[in-house]
């Protein structure tokens, strides 16, 4: 069995990998910590292989039992205690493992009221993080690619810590296409862009009430309790109260950065 201590956001996970199949997955994507007895572990995760069938669809069945939560998709099954201290993940392949970890991490950070996982890319400019989000095909990954050589914190799922008056973005291991070294630093969030492809570059600020609704379906989340949904609303309200949200119409070049910085 391969054991490792990995860090996601500010949280430390003890991964117990029953198979050598996913060693590279963790080696390439995650920030590893030194195995230290005094290291505070937020959650222990057991990874089991041979579950289900390869990816079928995004339908996740959620069950809440007395002492545990169960999230089941055709290609993964997560069992986690209600304190989110120990999880067992059964997976079919690497893609199942990535998605199962996203599912688990998203529920964990909402549960502890720490922050949100947002379907977006995120780029650093002048020490501030800027989020690019939108519907499928709107240009999240493209905006990230066009932003090179700026530091990329995420190309698919942005890890956002939300406190009363500050929003911090951490490097995301949940990457889609870009294989870049992890950014070890975290950055204060400067703005959020809702993307639209266009023949001209234009940026207009969106009203806070509208932006809250527009961001709601960009939050990666698998509902198991209405109370947690309320938490997401509170967290998102804090986001739109503290950073401006813009509609960004952009051409396929990096000139849109002139509008942001």
């Amino acid at each position: 069995m391969k054991e490792s201590i990995v860090k996601i956001g500010e949280h430390v996970f003890h991964i117990k990998n029953r198979s050598f199949l996913y060693r590279d997955f963790f080696r390439h994507n995650f920030i590893h910590m030194v195995d230290d007895e005094h290291q505070a572990i937020h959650m222990t995760i057991d990874i089991m292989t041979g579950f289900g069938i390869p990816f079928l669809n995004d339908e996740v069945k959620t069950t809440k039992e007395k002492n545990k939560l169960i999230f089941e998709r055709a290609d993964y099954l997560i069992e986690v205690d209600q304190e989110f201290s120990h999880a067992i993940i059964h997976v079919n392949n690497d893609l199942s493992l990535k998605h199962a970890l996203m599912n688990l991490y998203s529920c964990f950070i909402v549960h502890i009221n720490w922050g949100l996982l947002i379907h977006s890319s995120c780029v650093v400019e002048r020490n501030k993080a800027h989020i690019f989000t939108g519907q499928s095909g709107a240009g999240k990954s493209t905006a990230a690619q066009l932003s090179y050589p700026r530091t990329l914190l995420s190309d698919e799922a942005t890890i956002l810590k939300i406190t009363g008056d500050e929003l911090i973005v951490f490097d995301s291991p949940f990457r889609s296409e870009m294989n870049e070294k992890s950014a070890k630093e975290s950055y204060s969030l400067g703005s959020i862009q809702l993307l639209n492809q266009s023949v001209t570059n234009r940026r207009t600020e969106v009203a806070k009430s509208d932006s809250l609704l527009l961001l709601l379906d960009k939050v990666f989340y698998w509902t198991y309790d209405p109370e947690e949904t309320k938490n997401i609303f509170k967290l998102l309200k804090c986001v739109v109260d503290n950073v401006p949200v813009y509609d960004l119409h952009f051409q396929k070049n990096d000139a849109f950065w002139e509008l942001i910085s």
């Binding site: 199949l21 996913y22 060693r23 590279d24 997955f25 390439h28 994507n29 390869p54 990816f55 669809n57 995004d58 996740v60 392949n93 690497d94 893609l95 998605h99 996203m102 379907h119 499928s136 095909g137 240009g139 990954s141 493209t142 698919e156 799922a157 990457r175 889609s176 296409e177 294989n179 492809q197 709601l216 379906d217 960009k218 939050v219 990666f220 989340y221 698998w222 509902t223 949904t229 997401i232 396929k252």
Partner: protein, 59 residues
């Protein structure tokens, strides 16, 4: 229309219900990897989740 009915209709009405929906469909962007056995520079040669539809072609 009776007076009673008018009073009823003067209350705020919910015109439509829409379930709150969060993002759960990250699978549309399966990416090139990296996956096990892929050091990260094979550009998806080892990637086994077909079909892969590169988003770049949509532009």
């Amino acid at each position: 229309m009776t007076e009673k009915q008018v009073i009823k209709e003067s209350r705020p009405l919910v015109l439509a219900h829409q379930a709150i929906r969060f993002e759960t469909s990250q699978s549309w962007n399966k990416g090139h990897g990296p996956v096990s056995g892929d050091p990260g520079k094979s550009d998806g040669d080892y990637y086994k989740h077909d079909p892969y539809d590169p988003k770049k072609t949509k532009w």
